[in-house]
Amino acid sequence: MNLDDLADLAEQYRAIDANVEREVRVCMAASCQSSGAAPVLDALVAGLGDSKPSCKVKGVGCMGLCSAGPLVSIADREASLEESTIYRDVTADDAADIIASLDGPPVERLRCPTDQPFFARQQKIVLENAGIIDPDSFKGYVAVGGYSALIRALSEMTPADVLREVTDSGLRGRGGGGYPTGLKWSTVAKMPATQKYVICNADEGDPGAFMDRAILESDPHRVLEGMAIAAYAIGANKAYVYVRAEYPLAVERLQTAIRKAKRSGFLGNKIGDTQFSLEVEIRLGAGAFVCGEETALMASIEGLRGQPRPRPPYPAESGLWGHPTLINNVETFANIAPIVREGGNWFASIGTERSKGTKVFALAGTITNTGLIEVPMGTSLRDIIEVIGGGIPGGKAFKAVQTGGPSGGCIPAQHLDIAVDYDSLKTLGTMMGSGGMIVMDETSSMVDVARYFMEFCMTESCGKCIPCRTGTQQMHSILDRLAKAQATRAELALLEELCEVVQATSLCGLGQTAPNPVLSTMRYFRDEYEAKLGDA
């Protein structure tokens, strides 16, 4: 198969709905479903019946503004989210009004303006299909140009060409570490082994982060396409997606996508009639945060306790069952198809000097617009929180934003103007992490937040290395006494010392970064710690 054949196929699939002019899109991602999107979809389908063949109701993925769900958008075929009319907080009772409005003016009482910064200020690459295509439809993905990057790679590019584009793009791992993706791929590609593996890390364990979930629920084929391109570039024929069992909907959509892609010859044997084959299998996590660490994740795929091992050797040399293995995060793979399609230089033109492209963030906590956004790297925190996120509700003052989950830290108001990228966040004592941003207002106690994260790390510590196993316990007990205003100044000093020791001596990222929430809150909110001292 070449690109012309694929274009013909896409044309065929588009012709199926040739008479459809307008689409009624209902968000069927997890958050909107929890607010009651399924009855809305049913009511719209039943209400529309066969009365208007030029209109079609379809379930789509995440539109982003989760706090206003269930969301419904009315759009011309292939129109983007910003070009559509969006309705918020829709119930099944609103279906009749929405259907009646298809020929006339929109239903003003439900309207959610699309010219507001939340929609207007985003730039979508990873989420370009989210909220537009039906995630369960293979044909829908191909119709919008899906799998063209894979076919292009297989029919017109050598593995080295693909590696060059990915390297040129400057893409860095979106799971949190920010390791250059092109370099990682090249290392695995250079290994002489005949058996290699590709793993997609979808064990999104950071509390407050739901980007990967939304990507898998909204556009699963996009992730599979990225994985297939990676497998071709490094010479692997077997891939795993390691997904949290807590995400049943994402697992279901991924299973459907794998089945359909395989049936149509885009996965499995001899993809696109070439010599390249790839089997993709799903492995379910079982609720262990540490399995987001790559060596622990591989242990879990092998059916073992998810405990990390020392690196080196890195997975690129000796990974799954001792074979060279490429592990990337969901969002990283979701960036691959556009890079191959548009070229590495195009991607490198977006973002900052050392962080290219866009980043998907999950906004949560005390913020008006809770949900998912995608902005170019380098967007300022103030823009993200006050403009796109709509600021703090209820007239309260902003206190801090927490990024990077239990491995990250809190950023106070005086640093809101920083341009967000991997390096700038690091200088502030936090990290990009996978992209969760939890906004806290003046009522949040920072000591309490630090205790919360330490409790998290303490329970999630796998117990293999002593600094993490006992260090997190000791730190937690001091933080607990601090929160109850019982700790002494000597204990506070001990806490700081423990932070250093645990950071320096733990085996894996979980322990090494566990002190970060404490250190960053101490750095910016030391007065709160002082005020909590029992002997003050």
Partner: protein, 164 residues
């Protein structure tokens, strides 16, 4: 030369064991299918008891200690039976900021159980989760698999009291 061990007989004629066996067969009884198999036991029976751990160990030709080690390592696996209903309170960061801790405390008081425990009449299990990914609905609660959001403790308790 490898000797193919005879597979142990099903622990009982309960049809659900066939589902478990199907999972192991699909994975060629490979030892790395252990977690998948435990998932399928828990999906079928609700929890992992000693009998099922022994059966899985014998079927996959693994030491019982290893099976037990894996079953107790992962939070999702439970070795105790759950109540007829399960209420999971999400304690992810967003939910915590929005008062999930207080919700748990109120439920503890009202039903006299700690997270991870079941009421004496087996009616309700109280559980906590590390982020169910529904941060837009914080604080999020999962009752018998349905995610509910933005509940205050009074509404939540009223909902739970309606369950039979």
């Amino acid at each position: 030369m490898s000797l193919q061990q005879a597979k142990p007989p099903l622990p009982s004629d309960d049809k659900r064991w066939k589902l478990v066996n199907a999972t192991m067969r699909r994975n060629g009884y490979a030892d790395h299918a252990l977690i998948e198999t435990l998932h399928s036991v828990q999906d079928a029976f609700g929890f992992l008891d000693e009998g099922s751990l022994r059966f899985v160990a014998a079927s996959l030709d693994l030491p019982l200690s290893k099976v037990y080690g894996v079953a107790t390592f992962y939070h999702l696996f439970t070795l105790k039976p759950k109540g007829r209903h399960a209420c999971v309170v999400c304690t992810g960061t967003a939910c915590y900021i929005k008062g999930a801790g207080g919700l748990v405390e109120r439920l503890q008081e009202r039903f006299d159980i700690n997270p991870g425990e079941t009421t004496e009449d087996d009616r309700l299990s109280l559980l906590t989760a590390r982020c169910v990914g529904a941060c837009g609905l914080a604080p999020a609660i999962v009752i018998d698999g349905d995610v509910l959001g933005k509940l205050d403790s009074e509404t939540l308790i009223a909902k739970l009291e309606e369950l039979t």
